[in-house]
């Protein structure tokens, strides 16, 4: 499929099984080590598309101003997700519930989070309900909490938000703010057996135009396709990845230590990478909370949230998740510029390094690179 500019009359694009494979791979890159394994979502999407036909992808400009756009996502603990696959009916339940509450039908569905599992769940939804999918998301990557999205930043309410489980239970939330939506959604999800499908941030296309991150589905597909093709054609996958993401190679080396602990429902930890080649003599420390948060070269930050920090196998260029990283792996760390919305003062307040408890400010990865040397305060 094709991303980028084009009027409302430009050819519509279709998500077929090949595009879904590419989307899942690209979404793993955008997952920055977390976001949930897109493998299950991919299998669900392939089944839905085989039954209902490919999904149409539209740009936000293609929609009527007052048309209802509805993001759909899966929420829950990774160990539950891998064991209790959804029934598939949850999706229709949550979409219809929000539609009924607002008294109008959705004209398009959307991904709330392009990184990880929630890249492919909305594809399942769109196929099942024969609705188009918006080429956009609310993060341009993966983040751990509901308010960490561009819609929230733009003042869109996360509610009415519907959540359903496999058994047919349904919870509709109206909350005073999006932090409460996060809190009550978690509680309901735990009671539902640790996972649920949710529809949230209902908005008009007009609102969406000012609040979503456009082009992220096609971006994920493009990334996945670039990686797949470079492998098929025997070209350097890293160059292909850096080209398509405008990313920077931050470091290459060997993992010499991984420290993990689970606190407050989050998987936190640190991977230490000993430099090889041009990076010999230096050490990179990658810290994570579900997703990679910061990369420190010899103690100095060289990439931080909200920029995307992705750890890849140096041989295969396969992305490595925070659960999969371990001693001895030869890895290359790539930093990818985040969506511009996160670089605003308001954006950094929500997802900048200080929002995750760090005592330093964000510097775009391009600036660190342009200095030719690590940044020092």
């Amino acid at each position: 499929m094709r991303g980028g500019a084009g009027g409302p009359d430009s050819p519509r694009t279709l998500l077929d099984p090949d595009a879904i494979e590419d989307l899942a791979l690209g979404a793993t890159i955008l997952g920055t080590g977390g976001g949930g394994d897109p493998y299950l979502g991919k299998l669900m999407a392939l089944q839905a598309v085989a039954e209902r036909g490919p999904v149409r992808v539209l740009r936000v400009e293609d929609l009527p101003d007052d048309g209802l756009v509805l993001p759909v996502a899966m929420m829950g603990a990774p160990t539950v997700l891998v064991e209790k696959v959804p029934s598939g009916k949850e999706i229709e339940t949550v979409v219809r519930t929000v539609e009924r509450r607002l008294g109008r039908p959705a004209v398009a569905l959307m991904s709330a989070e392009a990184g990880g599992l929630n890249s492919t769940i909305p594809v399942v939804a769109a196929a099942q309900l024969s609705l188009p999918l918006l080429d956009a998301d609310g993060m341009g990557r993966a983040f751990p909490e509901i308010p960490m999205c561009s819609m929230s930043l733009a003042g869109v309410s996360a509610t009415p938000r519907a959540g359903a489980d496999d058994k047919g239970n349904l919870v509709l939330l109206e909350t005073v703010d999006n932090v409460w939506t996060e809190r009550l959604s978690r509680t309901a999800t735990v009671e539902m057996g640790g996972s649920s499908i949710i529809a949230l941030y209902p908005m008009s296309a007009e609102e969406a135009r000012h609040s979503v991150i456009p082009g992220t589905m096609s971006r994920a597909i493009e990334i996945g396709r670039a990686l797949r093709r470079s492998r098929q054609e025997g070209r350097d996958a890293f160059s292909a990845l850096l080209d398509v993401t405008r990313g920077r190679r931050v470091f290459q080396g060997k993992v010499i230590d991984v420290l993990r602990r689970t606190t407050g429902g989050f998987a936190r930890g640190v991977a230490t990478i000993d430099g090889l080649g041009g990076d010999a003599g230096s050490v990179l420390r990658v810290e994570f909370q579900n997703e990679h948060l910061v990369a420190l070269r010899d103690g100095v930050p060289v990439a931080t949230v909200p920029d995307l920090i992705t750890v890849l196998d140096s041989d295969s260029c396969a992305p490595i998740t925070t659960e999969g990283i371990r001693y001895g792996q030869r890895v290359t760390v790539v930093a990818i510029p985040c969506a511009p919305v996160w670089r605003s003062e308001a954006g950094l307040r929500v997802v900048g390094p200080r929002a995750f408890g760090y005592d330093f400010d964000y510097r775009p990865v391009e600036e660190v690179e342009a200095d030719g040397a690590p940044h020092r305060d």
Binding site: L46, Q47, V82, E83, K84, V85, V124, K167, G194
Partner: protein, 516 residues
């Protein structure tokens, strides 16, 4: 207690060793695999007995490590059609069974499937009420079309009553002889991977029965009346009866046996083991005398499973690996002349330059019947490259940066030098070339406990201690030496659904056979 024979059927050769009651190697034999495999087994067994002048009646145990189940899956041969029952409806409907299987394997194995009520949440609460009548209907509908059943309930590793009830219904409908595989006995958390493994287990049961029958016949033909065992992927033995229920557990016993054999031959409990064959080099880690297990999903024949498998780094570097000169230097493999080495390698008068030729040219080994014509500079560059490849592979499997001893086994290990970066020492123990068969012969017997305990009014430690003791007793009953039996695996799953702070504890203990 008498003598034991360990047999390993590998990719190219069938190896055997005869050990006495004190584990001394009395004889060893190697022969190329026969097409029916069993002729090869009979041949090596006969040969070790003849070489050691030991009478068949003195053999009390025979242990077989075989890749035949693995090969049946990889080559899609002899597989049964399986009826697939999944419990958890309406959950899990979004991904049907065998979703990501390769089409050709699926075509051979997939029978009718049914998604039925049952299964539990992560905390053991039921997802939906088990429905005996619907289950019975589904079983009846499948019975005509399938030879085996696979039953997978959501979160059955937490609570498996529903799987047991399905098994009972299948037996009522189809008799006791029908093959039924239950997922909670086979895999851990991860529904699709566990279901895949359960279906594969059901599909290979017929192959396993044939292997076991032929194994028995090959040995009784030689007059051997011994206890027979198959080795499994965790380095312990299964009785033939047990192996018939869980044949999928024989997967990956080859690398396990070579690592265990290396442990025995070197006397080390912590080491890196490098097994070099004709085509590839497998590098694994010995921890507490057992192979370190892989933490990531393992594919078998293109199917994702969540088995405990040895964590290996495999690279295309073996005695038959093809060596090529390039502009900038030299490349090795990943292709190999394999078992054609005796025709194609230069040291056998052939035209292909292989790593064996490099080793002969450098005076490191005597292989073949011709001194190969190899440019000395090229040979040195190729050798340096091979050493670097081996060192990198060794470094990749290490868990920490410190030096570790390296044990080299397998016929191709003559390629390895006396020193390697990252290795405190490089050991090439006697009988290194039959380490696999030795690993099978010295494999341990085990006992497993899988039970729910209440932690009310007692400490967690005392519960674990009770479970450990039960597993140790079980292993001793199975024939392990009480002096040498040890706990090798403990898994604890808290069960929030039961009153009394219940916990499901699985403990496996293993030890060497007693009587030496």
């Amino acid at each position: 207690m008498g003598h034991r024979i360990g047999i390993d059927v590998g990719g190219t050769n069938t190896d055997a060793v005869l050990l006495d009651e004190r584990d001394r190697v009395l004889a060893k034999a190697k022969t190329p695999n026969s097409d029916d495999v069993m002729t090869g087994i009979a041949e090596v067994a006969r040969k070790v007995l003849a070489d050691a002048a030991v009478d068949a009646s003195q053999v009390t145990h025979v242990m077989l490590g075989t890749t035949q189940v693995t090969n049946a899956i990889i080559e899609r041969r002899g597989l049964s059609r399986v009826g697939i029952l999944r419990l958890g409806a309406p959950a899990t409907a979004a991904i049907r069974p065998l979703a990501a299987w390769p089409e050709d394997l699926r075509a051979r194995v997939e029978g009718p499937s049914a998604l039925l009520p049952g299964g539990v949440e992560y905390d053991g609460r039921p997802i939906s009420k088990f429905d005996a009548e619907r289950t019975r209907d589904a079983v009846r509908r499948m019975a005509e079309e399938v030879e085996a059943f696979a039953v997978t309930g959501v979160f059955s590793p937490v609570r498996h009553d529903d799987e047991e009830r399905v098994a009972e219904i299948i037996r009522e409908e189809c008799g006791d002889a029908v093959v039924v595989s239950l997922s909670n006995e086979i895999g851990s958390i991860g529904l699709l991977e566990r279901e895949n493994a359960t279906v594969l287990n059901a599909a290979v049961t017929r192959v396993a029965r044939r292997v076991s029958k032929a194994f028995e016949e090959a040995l009784s033909g030689l007059g051997i009346r011994a206890s027979l065992y198959l080795s499994q992927n965790d380095g312990t033995l299964m009785s033939l009866e047990y192996a018939m229920r869980y044949p999928i557990l024989t997967i990956a016993c080859g690398p396990t046996n070579s690592i265990r054999g290396a442990a025995y031959l070197s006397g080390l409990a912590e080491a890196i083991v490098v097994d070099v064959g004709g085509t590839s080099m497998d590098v694994g880690v010995l921890m507490n005398g057992f192979p370190r297990e892989s933490a990531v999903a393992v594919e078998i024949g293109g199917v994702r499973t969540n088995f405990r498998m040895p964590d290996l780094v495999s690279i295309g570097l073996g005695g038959g690996s093809v060596v090529r000169e390039t502009d900038g230097g030299v490349t090795i493999g990943p292709d190999s002349v394999g078992s054609h080495i005796v025709r194609e390698a230069r040291c056998f008068g052939g035209r292909t330059l292989t790593m064996s030729d490099v080793a002969v040219a450098l005076g490191l080994a005597r292989i073949g019947n011709v001194v190969p014509d190899v440019d000395a500079g090229l040979a040195e560059r190729a050798y340096a490259r091979a050493v670097r490849m081996a060192e990198e592979a060794i470094d990749r499997v290490k868990t920490s940066a410190g030096l570790m001893p390296v044990v080299a086994v397998g016929g191709g290990s003559v390629l390895l030098p006396e020193r390697l970066a990252g290795a405190s020492t490089v050991l090439k123990p006697e009988h290194y070339e039959v380490a696999n068969a030795i690993g099978a012969a010295i494999a341990q017997v085990s006992g497993t406990v899988d039970r729910i305990f209440s932690t009310d009014n007692r400490t967690r430690d005392s519960v674990l201690e009770e479970a450990r003791q039960m597993a140790l007793d079980e292993a001793v009953r199975a024939g392990a030496d009480p002096e040498a039996v040890e706990v090798i695996e403990v898994e604890e799953v808290p069960l929030a659904y039961l009153p009394g702070n219940a916990v499901r504890v699985k403990v496996k203990a293993a030890g060497r056979l007693k009587g030496y």
